[in-house]
C-alpha cells in the first residue's frame, strides 16, 4: 500500500479541477473588477497547460494517482489520471478556450454577467473532475457540479424558450443522476467499495447477475446523460435555445462526459457485466447511429439538426463499447475527442449563420455563399468531417471502429454494427450536405418584408467569432491530415481500459504490496 506523501509534481493531477473551481469563486466575489472574460481565459489557459503536462506524464510513465486526506485507498477519494481521462480533459480545455474567445463576438449576450464566466469555469471543473476522478461517488459529485453549472448557463438568458428548455433538461438530467446514485447505493451494498481500482478486483468475484443489474442501471443513467437513442429527446429540446456559444460548450463537453463514464464503467470496471449486456448495447448503438441522422434530415431548425449529428456520434461511441477490442475502444476514444472539437465548431459556425441571417429555420436561409465565402468553407469542412469523409478527422475513428468490428467478426453484433456505422456516415453526409445547400448555395428566399437584408459582419468584433471558429476548424483539419498523435493516444487509452493492471497499481492496490 502507498503511504509516502504525494510528490509535488504529482499535484498536477488535481490542478485541472482546483484551478477552475478557485477561479469561479474568485470571479463571483470580485465580479467585474477583474475583466471576467480575460480572467476566465487565463485560468483555462493555465488548466490547458497543466493538462498538457499531465498527458505527457501519463503517456510516458503510466497512470498517475493521488488520494486525498491521508485516507489510504480504497478508503480515501482517489484522483487517477490515465490516457483517456487526461486526453479528454485536455480536449475539454481546448474547446473551452475557443468558446471563450468566440463569446467576445457578441458581448451583449455575455458581458453584463460575470456570473456567466464563473459558470463556464465551474462547468470546466466538473468535466475535468469527471474525467480524472478514480472514485465512483466522486464521479457522481462531478456530474452534479456539471449539472448545476449547465442549469445556470441554459437559463441565464431568461427567454421563455430557454426557460422551457431548462425545465425539460433539468428534470430529465436530475432523474438521470438520481438513477446513477441509486446504482451507486446498490453497488456499495454489493461490494462495500466505490473506489474504481478496488471495484475492478471485487466486481469480478461478485455474483454476475447482481453486477449486471447494476451495470444495466448505470447504462440507463449514463444513456440519459449522453442522449443515447431511447432517452435522447431532451437534447434536441434544449440545446438550440441558449446563445450559440453555450450550445457549443454543452455540445463539446456535457454528453461526452456521460459517454466517457460508460466507457470507463462498462469496459474498465465491470467487463463481465458488459459481456452480459452486449446485445442491449449493440442494439442501442445501432438504433442511435441510424435514427439520429434521419432525424437531422427531417429537421428545419439549424441548431436542432446539429444536435442530431451530436447524437449520431454518441451512437458511434456506443458501438465502440459494443466492440471491446483494441481497435474498437481506441476508435471510441478518438471519436469522443473528434466529436468534442467538431460539434463545438459546428455550433459556433451555426451561431454566426443565425446572427447573419437573423433566422433559425433553414427554410428561410439562403444565399450566404456569395456574401461570406469563408463561413461557407468552414461549414462545409465541418460537415464533411462529421460525415467521416476520408482525409478529414472524422474518418480515422470510424476506420478504427470498422476495424474493431472486422476483428470481432464471429460475434453476431459485429457485422450489423459495421453496416450501421457506414449507413450513419452516408446519411450524415446527405443531411449535412442538404444543410449546406439550403443555407449557402441556393438563392435566398424572398424576405417576409423589406429591410430584412443580410447583415454584414461587424468591422472588428464580428470577426472575432469567425476567427475562433476558423481556428478550431483549422485544428480539426490538421489533426485529420496528421492523425498519428491522436491515434496513438486512442491506442494508449484503449490499452489502459482493456488491461487494468497499470491502473490498479497506480492507485496502490496492486496485490499484496
Amino acid at each position: 500500500m502507498q503511504s509516502a506523501p504525494t510528490s509535488p509534481t504529482d499535484w498536477i493531477v488535481i490542478l485541472p479541477v482546483i484551478l477552475p473551481l478557485l477561479g469561479a469563486a474568485l470571479l463571483l466575489v470580485l465580479g467585474s473588477r477583474i475583466a471576467p472574460p480575460i480572467f476566465a481565459f487565463a485560468v483555462t489557459l493555465v488548466v490547458g497547460v497543466a493538462e498538457c503536462g499531465l498527458l505527457q506524464h501519463v503517456l510516458t510513465a503510466g497512470p498517475l494517482s493521488m488520494t486525498m486526506g491521508r485516507w489510504l485507498p480504497p478508503f480515501g477519494i482517489s484522483f487517477t489520471a490515465d490516457a483517456i481521462g487526461a486526453g479528454l480533459a485536455l480536449t475539454a480545455a481546448v474547446v473551452t478556450l475557443v468558446v471563450l474567445v468566440y463569446a467576445q463576438e457578441n458581448p451583449a449576450e455575455t458581458e453584463p454577467r460575470p456570473a456567466l464566466y464563473a459558470l463556464v469555469l465551474l462547468l470546466l471543473a466538473g468535466v475535468n473532475g469527471a474525467f480524472l476522478t478514480g472514485d465512483l461517488f466522486n464521479l457522481y459529485v462531478w456530474f452534479e457540479v456539471m449539472l448545476i453549472a449547465s442549469f445556470g448557463l441554459l437559463a441565464v438568458s431568461g427567454t421563455p424558450q430557454s426557460l422551457d428548455a431548462t425545465v425539460k433538461y433539468g428534470l430529465i438530467n436530475f432523474i438521470g443522476t438520481s438513477l446513477f446514485l441509486l446504482a451507486l447505493g446498490l453497488l456499495y451494498g454489493a461490494l462495500g467499495t466505490l473506489n474504481m481500482a478496488d471495484i475492478i478486483g471485487k466486481g469480478a468475484a461478485a455474483p454476475p447477475a447482481i453486477m449486471a443489474s447494476i451495470a444495466a442501471l448505470l447504462l440507463v443513467a449514463f444513456g440519459i446523460k449522453s442522449a443515447a437513442f431511447p432517452v435522447n429527446a431532451w437534447l434536441p429540446a434544449s440545446y438550440h435555445t441558449p446563445p450559440a456559444v453555450i450550445s457549443a460548450l454543452f455540445g463539446g463537453l456535457l454528453t461526452k462526459a456521460g459517454v466517457y463514464a460508460l466507457l470507463r464503467i462498462l469496459v474498465l470496471l465491470l467487463p463481465l457485466s458488459r459481456d452480459l449486456l452486449q446485445p442491449v448495447i449493440a442494439l442501442i448503438a445501432g438504433a442511435t447511429l441510424i435514427l439520429a441522422p434521419l432525424a437531422a434530415l427531417a429537421e428545419t431548425n439549424l441548431r436542432r439538426a446539429i444536435g442530431y449529428f451530436l447524437i449520431g456520434g454518441i451512437g458511434a461511441t456506443l458501438a465502440g463499447i459494443a466492440l471491446p477490442n483494441l481497435s474498437g475502444i481506441g476508435g471510441a476514444t478518438v471519436y469522443i475527442v473528434y466529436s468534442m472539437l467538431t460539434i463545438s465548431g459546428l455550433y459556433l459556425v451555426a451561431g454566426t449563420i443565425e446572427r447573419l441571417t437573423a433566422e433559425t429555420d433553414i427554410g428561410r436561409m439562403g444565399g450566404l455563399y456569395a456574401r461570406h465565402t469563408l463561413l461557407a468553407i468552414l461549414f462545409l469542412l465541418l460537415v464533411v468531417t462529421v460525415a467521416g469523409v476520408p482525409p478529414f478527422l472524422g474518418f480515422w475513428p470510424k476506420l478504427l471502429l470498422l476495424q474493431g468490428a472486422i476483428e470481432r467478426m464471429p460475434d453476431a453484433a459485429a457485422l450489423p454494427l459495421a453496416a450501421c456505422l457506414l449507413l450513419n456516415a452516408f446519411l450524415t453526409l446527405i443531411a449535412g450536405g442538404r444543410l449546406w445547400l439550403l443555407i449557402f448555395w441556393r438563392d435566398r428566399p424572398q424576405p417576409k418584408e423589406a429591410g430584412q437584408e443580410l447583415a454584414p459582419l461587424g468591422p472588428s468584433r464580428g470577426k472575432v467569432g469567425l476567427g475562433a471558429a476558423a481556428f478550431l476548424t483549422l485544428l480539426i483539419l490538421l489533426a485529420g491530415l496528421w492523425p498519428a498523435p491522436l491515434l496513438s493516444l486512442g491506442h494508449a487509452a484503449a490499452a489502459g481500459l482493456l488491461d487494468p493492471s497499470a491502473y490498479i497499481a497506480a492507485v496502490g492496490l496492486g496485490g499484496g504490496q
Binding site: S162, V167, L182, A298
Partner: protein, 124 residues
Amino acid sequence: MGTAFAILAGAFIAAAIYLLLARSMLRILFGLALLGNGINLLILVGGRLTRDAPPILSEGVTVPGAVANPLPQALILTAIVIGFALFTFLLTLAYRAYRVIGTIDIDYMRRAEPEAPPKPPLGY
C-alpha cells in the same frame, strides 16, 4: 431489519416513479424529492444496519469490537446537500416558468419545441 428497510426504500422509489409520470411539474418535483429520499434510504441499507458502537473513538482507545459503518452517512449527507440544492433550483425554475410561460403542465410547455414545426424544404 434490513429487509424491512429495503422494502421501505422500494416503496419510496415506487411512489416517486408514480409521481414522475404526472404532467404537472409540481408533482414531478415532489417525485424527484421522494426519489432522492428513497435512494438515501437505500444507501443506508447498503451500508448494513447494525446495533454496534458508534464509530467515534477518542485518542488512544482501540476499536471496541464491532462499530457501525460511518461511510453511508457521509455519502447520504453529500447526496442530501446536492439534492436539496438542485430541488430548490428546479422549484424556483418552475415558478419562473409559470410566470413567463403561464403553465406548469408539461403538455402545454412547447415554447422550445413548437407543436407544428415548419415542414422541411423539399427542394432547393
